[in-house]
């Protein structure tokens, strides 16, 4: 292993990470499904280069929040400003074009395709060969395939999944599927990466691996990360700032230490004594 990678965590943290400008700001977002308010007046921001955690009990609206950010749901009220532009309605594939990547709570891989093809699919927006060039597999189409294959192999190396390169992902164990899904999201070279419970259902060792990949992606590629996670140990360790949701409302927002001590958060997680 190279010495730089073996450096202690504290040193690495001081080396490259710089939290910068506001990358994404959500303002007074309200999302309703019929009479049910999934999100009510949510505002927070995500800064360039940070790891931002979104936590909250089940049904708090965390996944809905991510779906709003990448255009899958359209909120009834509120504004979203991404990279300085306040946007109108946006389709998910347009969000992808603007650099918002995403993984899912329930793995959403392309099950009939191999690991390699899944991650190659993540490069779709970076490939521009015409249809006819692809039919004959000459010229630009072939050059692109080879160039992007090299890029994808770097991600495969990064995630240490070389051995399963040519296996159909449907047959892989759960932990590896999660890793392939992260690989597919990284292949899009996102500016903002939304991770929906990347460690759900994993054992301790798999969680540690996944944490390492997330931290490395954040450091080496400078990817801004917003993640939903239930494991409080993980959240408190790796995130820079935490926003807490409950019943579609924002309870708290701040550094892990601030959030940990917030009485409203403790109430939401542990219950309130009514005596």
């Amino acid at each position: 292993m190279a010495p730089a990678e073996a450096a202690p965590l504290s040193e690495r943290a001081s080396r490259a990470r710089q939290v910068g400008e506001v990358l994404l700001a959500v303002d007074n977002i309200t999302l309703r499904f019929g009479g049910v308010a999934a999100l009510t007046n949510i505002s927070f921001d995500i800064r360039q280069g940070e790891i931002r955690a979104i936590i909250g009990p089940n049904g708090a609206g965390k996944s809905s929040m991510l779906n709003v950010i990448n255009g899958f749901y359209h909120p009834q009220e509120g504004r979203i400003t991404y990279q300085g532009k306040t946007r109108a309605r946006m389709r998910p594939h347009e969000a992808a074009k603007r650099g918002i990547g995403r993984t899912f709570q329930n793995i959403a891989l392309f099950k009939g395709m191999t690991t390699l093809d899944n991650i190659m699919t993540g490069r779709v927006l970076k490939m521009h060969a015409g249809f006819l060039a692809q039919v004959v597999y000459l010229g630009r189409a072939k050059q692109e395939e080879l160039a992007h294959r090299a890029a994808v192999e770097r991600i495969i190396d990064f995630l240490e999944i070389q051995a399963i390169r040519n296996q159909p992902v449907g047959k892989l164990p759960y932990g590896l599927q999660k890793r392939v899904e992260l690989g597919r999201a990284l292949a899009t070279e996102p500016t903002l990466l939304l991770l929906d419970e990347p460690m759900a259902g994993m054992n301790l060792e798999e969680k540690e691996d996944m944490c390492r990949f997330i931290l490395d992606a954040n450091e080496e590629f400078g990817t801004t990360i917003a993640l939903i996670e239930h494991d409080m140990g993980v959240v408190m360790d790796i995130s820079d700032r935490v926003v807490v949701l409950d019943y579609g409302r924002k309870l708290a927002d701040g550094s892990p230490d601030v959030v940990r001590g917030d009485p409203a958060v403790i109430d939401a997680y542990l219950g309130v004594s009514h005596d």
């Binding site: 699919t121 039919v135 004959v136 597999y137 395939e145 597919r184």
Partner: protein, 393 residues
């Protein structure tokens, strides 16, 4: 250890992304191509060429086309027969309206010009005119297929299949109802005019079976290569992504509209080509009887039995559906002298047909139970067994 990857090392991504990665595979495909292009035409009878091999190859193109749509992109279609019909009728209209390249220029400019007929590298380019006609008809079919693919943007699965039935009934009705499509032929059947390609007559009643067979063989190889190329590139991966998980596909930047419509267009192009060949090379006439809903089902069965989402499966499925009934018929008829020698009653013609249906049906059920993923998967499993033989683990 008869067939293995061990010892084959690729040192470049280009080698690793080749269609046939193993030397064994390359030798095998070269062998089969020589057999198909040289050995068979020299050895087998005209009956085998005309009634077995040519229809098998044409239907393989149709199966490739439907496989693009259903196997790779996951959009179910029952309109195959109609798009084959469209390919046939459009080829007929183009071939009769524009018998040559100079006719096209004449109709565009209004001036009849006697074009020079140059010879380049031993080929007269204008003798490829029929190929241009086929491509033109395929493109028209692609556009119509794209239009009938529009419901796929909102509707999925069986419901989409029902909307493609609309194409099947509407187009066939149109070709019966509007005599313009058959150039006002009284019986509604348009005879295929004779056309040559590279100096060889490939269509029309008088064209030799060998010419037709080689023509279809060449087009089938090109179609298979095109499908293989497209499916290992960006477009193919977009199709499969839409098939496997459309929401995730959209969230990494694939536009479902473009992916689905391009699948409909490319699929219809190939199916239209198959329909044109069926009319011009197989049955020598363009008529709606050849393109009924049964053809749609037949091609769908080929794709399902052969293997969804594989090029090999399209060929295996077409061979199974086209050849099995004919071979069963020949086999059962051949039993008759033996039965008579034993003093048993011989099979009547109708009886042979019934037994043929029963065995064919039983075989379909057998193969789908043994391997629901199709014959192509059986071949994969066989390869795996060969790989580990004689010490399976």
């Amino acid at each position: 250890m008869l067939y293995r990857e061990t010892g084959v090392f690729h040192s470049s991504y280009a080698a690793d992304q080749a269609i046939f990665k193993l030397p064994q595979d390359r030798y095998a495909i070269a062998f089969w191509l020589v057999v198909a292009a040289v050995v068979l035409p020299l050895t087998v009878s005209n009956y085998v060429l005309t009634d077995l091999l040519t229809p098998f190859l044409i239907m393989a193109i149709a199966a490739l086309g439907l496989n693009v749509l259903t196997g790779y992109c996951g959009q179910l279609s029952l309109g195959t027969g109609a798009f084959m019909a469209l390919g046939g009728y459009m080829t007929y209209k183009l071939v009769t309206a524009l018998p040559s390249a100079s006719a096209l220029i004449g109709s565009l400019t209004g001036v009849e010009l006697a074009l020079p007929d140059p010879v380049i590298l031993g080929i007269r380019p204008f003798d490829l005119w029929f190929l241009a006609i086929l491509i033109g008809a395929g493109l028209i079919t692609a556009v119509v297929g794209l239009v009938f693919g529009l419901p796929s943007l909102k509707i999925k699965g069986l419901y989409l299949a029902v909307t493609t039935l609309a194409a099947q009934f509407f187009l066939v009705w149109l070709f019966i109802k509007v005599p313009w499509f058959t150039n006002y032929s009284p019986a509604g059947i348009a005879p295929a005019p004779p056309r040559t390609l590279l100096g060889l007559q490939v269509t029309g009643a008088a064209s030799p079976p060998v010419n037709r067979y080689l023509f279809v063989l060449a087009l089938t190889c090109l179609a298979a290569l095109a499908v293989k190329n497209v499916t290992r590139c960006k477009v193919g991966r977009s199709w499969m992504a839409i098939r496997d998980m459309d929401i995730a596909a959209e969230m990494i930047g694939i536009s479902p509209t473009r992916a689905k419509l391009s699948a409909f267009a490319f699929s219809s192009f190939l199916i239209g080509l198959a329909g044109a060949l069926w009319a011009f090379v197989k049955i020598n006439s363009v008529q709606t009887d050849a393109y009924g809903i049964l053809v749609s089902f037949q091609v769908l069965f080929m794709v399902i039995i052969g293997g969804l989402g594989t090029v090999l499966g399209s060929f295996l499925g077409a061979a199974f559906v086209i050849l099995t009934p004919i071979l069963l018929n020949i086999g059962l008829t051949a039993l008759n002298p033996g039965l008579q020698a034993l003093g048993l009653p011989a099979f009547e013609v109708a009886m042979i047909k019934h037994i043929e249906f029963m065995i064919f049906g039983a075989l379909i059920i057998f193969f789908l139970i043994v391997e629901p993923h199709g014959l192509a998967r059986l071949w994969q499993i066989a390869k795996q067994k060969l790989r580990t033989w004689p010490f399976p683990y």
